[in-house]
Amino acid sequence: MSESRTPSIEVRNVSKWFGSVVAVNDVSFQVQPGITGLLGPNGAGKSTILHMITGKSSASEGEVTVLGQQARDNPELYRSVGVMSEHEAVYAFYTGREFVEFAARLHSLDPTDEAVDRAIGLVGLEDAQQRKLGTYSRGMKQRMRLAAALVHDPQVLILDEPLNGTDPRQRLEFHDAMTKLAEQGKTILISSHILEEVETLASTILLMVSGKLAAAGDFRAIREKLDEQAYKVRVVTDSPRRMAAALVGVDDIDSVSIGGEGELTVLSRNVGTLQRSIPRLAQENGIRLMRVEPLDDSLESIFSYVVDR
């Protein structure tokens, strides 16, 4: 992550404990404009960190600032910050439009109609806005909650599990909306357990495990830094045993295993060796290569690796 610009969000040596339970342990990071994903298994401390960033709770130690201001006990900050918390409860007696108008009025927007129309349009719920929220599906409630968080056009958007209950089409629309906002220079921090969505959306990842920041940055850069973990590649050929025998003799190849349907799983700490050896050996031995596929070039594998480490 670049630290040359003033960060939109800065978390400095932050810890939070509840009695004897340490939920967040000496975490520091900065969030710049663009989309940042906050990932981690249940109990990692993601929501606790987000609560401190949004000012809903205080840090036991350390400091949290948003747009250069303290996050806690600073209601004026919310003029520039939009928050969608992980709780999905809404005021069921409001219509969708009334709910967004409610948010607009609390932001002192005047007139409210234009901002409300724009926010509801962003989430694509124009047709349902006059219905009571109590009649909405889970995904619709999420979208209307997002509209309420966006109605005042905040500079910083903090979203905790925004994709809960949404279908693939809605996720795509969400992806497009977030990308457009990021292109406008907004800062968006998304906490999600849907790894593939964060992978395609976020340019920067913050990975929390057991209350600590386990990794931060572009996910491929994170992966490359984990050089003690061997790269894993699946190789499918028309002659798996001959291919395996050829690979075993190569330095830097850690292991070769033959799985079902003749698939080889090859481990090596040197990705360059893998990239050069496989096609060369296939050609030298007259073996037809049908597929070569990295098995851990994904956020999920990094997530699993870091969590299990």
């Binding site: 205080s58 006990d73 919310y78 005021y91 948010a103 609390l106 932001h107």
Partner: protein, 241 residues
Amino acid sequence: MGTIFGLSIRQLTGKWRILLILFLAALPVGLAVIVNLTVSGDATFNEDFTNILLDGMLVAGILPIVTMALATSAFGNELEDKTLGYLVLMPVARWRIVLPKVLASLVICGPLLVVSGVVATLLGFDGEIRPAIAVAVSLTAGVFAYATIFTWAGLITTRALPFALVYVLLWEGVTSSFIPGVDYLSVRGYTLAIMSGLDESSFPALEDRVIELPAAIGGAVVVTVLFLLLGVRRLRRMDVP
């Protein structure tokens, strides 16, 4: 503030809650009708009416219970439903969140309780205006004080209703009966003292057991302001779920 006030009114005026409050508010009136028809000529009627209906039923019972039912829910429901975030994550000063919540409780239960007390008093005192006014003013003071205490209670504990009941029954009910001076720290004490102080001649039964009128007025004001400030302080410092 109007936005949050409107939200709170909607949250607190559920059908069953309103029906319960109406029923409770009607009880003193109903009882006043019955006693007026049956025993109004008795020599001890005035004393019994004051002690049993006005104090025992209305001030000690219905006033705190009705206020409690509303005021503890003002924030209690938001915390339970986890919707408080929609208020605190807004550029709204905390007092502009607490005050409309308190006012919403007042606006719903205050007029009902005051009307109930006034009508019951008019029935019990043969239509005399002065005791009715004394009852109206004293109940208003009591509603204000209870509303701020119980709204604060809704912020500090998820068990605000039992907390409020313990306060009313143990502190104001039992303790004040045995320990002199507790009435100086009791909303019930302030309410009865204001009632008696504004019309001593109508409430001789209260004369010997209530605190001084200035102390009662001062106490009611201090308690109201103090618990309003405590509620604001609590909202500023608490971790919001």
